[in-house]
């Protein structure tokens, strides 16, 4: 009798546990795994038009098994969340954002401000804060995500990989993840920059590629910097780990490529004078990667010449870039204000209200120190006989 009761109690507990069901149990194939999202303005001027790229399948049935294929779901809504849920009007699978790697915001939306777009992404539990943010330089964000990539079936993942390689080999635009964008948006004395995407041609096919940097003031898009200008922006922000430095030695067109091996930028504010000033020191080690000059500069004196020329090029370009940003955009994308804040918070508090005008007239000193540590496998310039 006692044992029977024990068994009954055990059974009832066991069964009730099983009967509770699995609140969060979701089979993978019942989910539409979003890989990337493009945000556009609604077609009638209000609300949002979202394009999700999801993992679809191709083929199957045979012995080969299905393969992954990109699929797009478009959805409209008054708010972002509304648009996300409205996708369920078409899709039998619930959208799942845990593997969403990129967000593309359209030019138009960015001009109006991206803060409303980012709120849902930050608030909801599924999207990750490590997603890469892009601004579409084209008319809409949808057409950027629509293009096929070269060899990844999923365009979003291809773009995400391209963006990941950028700081490693290219350094031609900023690499910004969602949480970094949040920090830049909310930070003091720094403005948001985001990498931009454009559509280019490859073998007569359209393809999406990195296209410079988008400049913001507060959360509104002001304009774009080209790829080469972006490089110097990345230099100032001390985010260069590799990439090339192209300089003109002899002619007007560039003739020497230097591969950056190590680069360190130190930005120090000089707050002793009447007005704040910034000192930018760049120390870098490079390798001589390519030499198209007529004279063989692969000598001790030649190397010195190149080093000097390259340092000068960096200094000039950085100065030019800063002047351009100061004049045209008046947005502290370099984070000079936050550098001052980090160095002397009290001083920053005093100048904070006038920072916009101060930034515009900020005096910048740039010094670059360059060391060529190797010249590749060649000992001299490639010779032409005769």
């Amino acid at each position: 009798m006692k044992r029977q009761r024990k068994v009954l109690i055990f059974l009832s507990i066991f069964i009730t546990i099983l009967m509770t069901g699995c609140a969060n149990y979701r089979e993978l194939e019942t989910l539409a795994v979003v890989t990337g999202t493009a945000f556009d303005k609604g077609s009638d001027g209000t609300g949002y038009h979202l394009t999700f790229e999801i993992l679809g399948q191709l083929g199957g049935g045979g012995t080969q098994g299905p393969t992954v294929q990109s699929q797009l779901i478009e959805s409209d809504g008054m708010t972002i969340f509304d648009a996300v849920r409205n996708a369920l009007k078409k899709s039998d699978k619930k959208l799942y954002f845990g593997h969403c790697r990129i967000l593309i915001i359209s030019n138009e939306l960015a001009h109006e401000g991206i803060d409303p777009v980012l709120d849902w992404l930050n608030r909801d539990s599924e999207p990750r804060i490590t997603m890469n943010l892009f601004i579409s330089k084209e008319k809409t964000a949808k057409e950027v995500i629509e293009q096929k990539s070269l060899n990844n079936p999923i365009t979003s993942y291809a773009l995400s990989n391209i963006d990941k390689n950028n700081p490693k080999f290219l350094s031609k635009t900023a690499y910004v993840q969602l949480y970094q964008a949040n920090n830049m948006l909310g930070g003091e004395g720094i403005s948001l920059i985001l990498p931009a995407l454009v559509i280019a041609n490859n073998q007569n096919n359209k393809i999406t590629e990195l296209g410079g940097t988008a400049i913001f003031k507060k959360d509104k898009l002001l304009g774009y910097l080209g790829s080469d200008e972006s490089k110097y922006l990345v230099f100032i922000k001390n985010q260069v780990t590799s990439g090339l430095l192209i300089i003109n030695m002899e002619s007007a067109s560039p003739d020497i490529s230097l591969e950056i091996i190590d680069s360190k930028t130190k930005v120090t504010p000089i707050l002793t004078g009447k007005l704040p000033e910034m000192k930018i020191e760049i120390k870098m080690q490079v390798a001589l990667g390519e030499m198209q000059t007529s004279a063989d500069l692969d000598t001790e004196s030649g190397i010195k010449e190149i080093e000097e020329k390259a340092s000068a090029t960096i200094e000039v370009n950085i100065k030019q870039l800063i002047t351009k940003v100061q004049r045209e955009y008046d947005s502290d994308i370099f984070g000079f204000g936050s550098t001052i804040y980090k160095n002397d918070p009290d001083y920053w508090k005093k100048i904070k209200p006038q920072w916009d005008s101060l930034f515009q007239s900020l005096n910048i000193e740039v010094s670059a120190e360059m060391e060529i540590i190797n010249t590749g496998l060649s000992k001299s310039k490639t010779k032409v006989g005769g």
Partner: protein, 522 residues
């Protein structure tokens, strides 16, 4: 008289402790006989014969050999033995022939002592008038000689029956090292141990188990090395239970187990004499039982499941890698299905994207939920494993492998289960076979963890693991916590070189170091 047969055998717990090969050990167990009506031998031979034949009524294997001396026909005696259990050559040449041909001195008064001391050639002779001892001797393959005019009987050690040859144990093969294994004869087994441990400190205490089977067993330990408290506790527990028969040490193991409901055994078992000798040297106690090649060793720590005798014979790097693999395999085999279900059904964000893509593709058009798939395939695997065990060995092995392949591949092709599930089940199954000694425990833990993680995801899995840890840390084997690192650290996760392993397990052995215990007689 069958009443006597029963009561005699039930109460007769005295055994003559004679070694199979004629050596003499000693009596250890005093009989507790209360029955006052037990039969008593008389001085009349015919009455005695009738008495014994009555007890063995309906047992036609009892041979009664009546003997009269050739020169003095007044000397009459009778030999009783069980057919098939005695060495006939020994009986004929060393006992019967001398009795027939010996020329007795007619003046000699104490005939039975003359027979015992001067006539027969057997290595071990016992004189007794105890009826129970006589019966016990007969059923254990000894010969009993009754002499006319004496109420005493002579018991000759004539045991001799067929035993299995010494072979390498199937379940515990080694790459290097001794290849002998125990067989079913306890004396042969003890000989193997004695040959390895040539010390007077090796103590062997006999005991009888099973009221009907009267199976001989013995406790074996090295004095000064084994912990006396554990020994006393073992003897206390062995005295506490009674059962009619013990055919294998597991009968005893389950009676004396500290954790009778635990899927993890707290008493070790092995069929290898070298393993037993090694454990004895570490201060453990062994329990032998006649009729089985399996020997219990205790106390048994959890880490011993992962030790193999190979570990001590091979290079210590190799041995350590093997041991780490076994520990990793244990974690893998209990966790793999649970973690797979938790991650693919609850925590999709933990999957690397390429892996998730392939799992999604594999799961297309599979009808059952992952959990159901996993349960079914695990059960299928256990069925295959069990089939492999039960089948006749000549077809069993190949068929089970082929069966596993066909069922796996065919099930995937038929879209009954997804391929990743088969991979996980196979991984769990194979790694489970890595540590065959906790097979049962592994299956139970694996299913519990899988159930928990199918309800709560990783949360449930972590709860399960916590519960398992708490449980394991609570289990004791003869008072020694099985997880508490009482094994010397040099012989835990890795096997240190021998010159670094001079400590015996703490708390277990009275003599704690191996280097200075010389074992010389004082």
């Amino acid at each position: 008289m069958s009443y006597w047969y029963n009561t005699v055998l039930k109460q007769c717990i005295t055994v003559r402790m004679e070694v199979y090969f004629g050596m003499r050990i000693r009596k250890i167990y005093a009989p507790k006989i209360k029955d006052n009506n037990r039969p008593i031998l008389t001085t009349d031979l015919n009455t005695n014969i009738r008495l014994i034949r009555n007890i063995f009524k309906d047992d036609e294997t009892l041979i009664t050999r009546y003997i009269e001396n050739q020169t003095d026909t007044t000397i009459k005696c009778c030999i009783f033995y069980i057919d098939g259990m005695v060495n006939n050559k020994l009986l004929n040449e060393d006992i019967i022939q001398p009795l027939l041909e010996h020329e007795f001195d007619p003046k000699a008064s104490d005939l039975i002592n003359v027979i015992a001391k001067q006539v027969t050639l057997s290595g071990s002779v016992d004189k007794t008038s105890d009826f129970y001892q006589i019966i016990q001797a007969i059923v254990y393959g000894d010969s009993v000689l009754l002499v006319n005019g004496y109420s005493d009987a002579l018991i000759f050690n004539t045991k001799g029956w067929a035993t299995r040859a010494i072979a390498e144990p199937e379940a515990e093969r080694v790459l290097r090292g001794p290849r002998e294994g125990f067989n079913e004869s306890i004396m042969a087994n003890l000989t193997m141990i004695r040959r390895k441990l040539r010390t007077q400190d090796l103590k062997i205490k006999f005991k009888v188990f099973g009221a009907r089977t009267q199976t001989k067993g013995c406790i074996c330990y090295i004095e000064g090395v084994a912990n006396k408290d554990i020994l006393a506790e073992l003897e206390r527990r062995l005295d506490k239970f009674s059962i009619d028969g013990t055919l294998d040490v597991n009968y005893i193991s389950e009676f004396i187990d500290e954790e009778p409901y635990s899927p993890i055994k707290t008493i070790g078992s092995t069929e290898r004499p070298d393993t037993v000798a090694g454990k004895l040297l570490e201060g453990r106690i062994a329990l032998f039982l006649d009729g089985t090649p399996v020997v219990l060793t205790l106390p048994h720590l959890f880490i011993e499941h992962f030790q193999s005798s190979d570990d001590y014979y091979l290079n210590y790097f190799f041995a350590s890698i093997g041991r780490l693999l076994r520990i990793f395999g244990f974690l893998l085999t209990i966790s793999a299905p649970a973690v797979y279900v938790a991650i693919t059904c609850f925590h999709h964000e933990m999957l690397p994207t390429p892996l998730m893509m392939s799992i999604i593709m594999a799961r297309q058009s599979v009808p059952m939920p992952t959990v159901v798939e996993m349960f079914l395939m695990l059960i299928m695997f256990e069925i295959l494993r069990e089939t492999g065990n039960r089948m006749p060995s000549n077809i069993g092995q190949s068929l089970s492998i082929v069966g596993a392949l066909v069922v796996g591949q065919a099930a995937v092709d038929a879209k009954l289960v997804s391929a990743p599930v088969i991979v996980i089940v196979a991984t769990a199954g194979i790694t489970g076979l890595l540590i065959p000694r906790i097979k049962g425990g592994i299956i139970i833990i694996r299913f519990i963890l899988l159930s928990l993680s199918s309800i709560l995801g990783l949360y449930g899995y972590i709860f399960g693991m916590m519960g398992l840890m708490i449980y394991l840390f609570n289990i004791r084997s003869f008072g020694i916590p099985i997880m508490n690192g009482l094994q010397s650290k040099q012989d835990m996760y890795i096997r240190s070189p021998w010159w670094n392993m001079m400590k015996r397990p703490q708390f277990m052995a009275a003599d704690k170091t191996r280097s200075n215990s010389d074992g010389d007689p004082e």
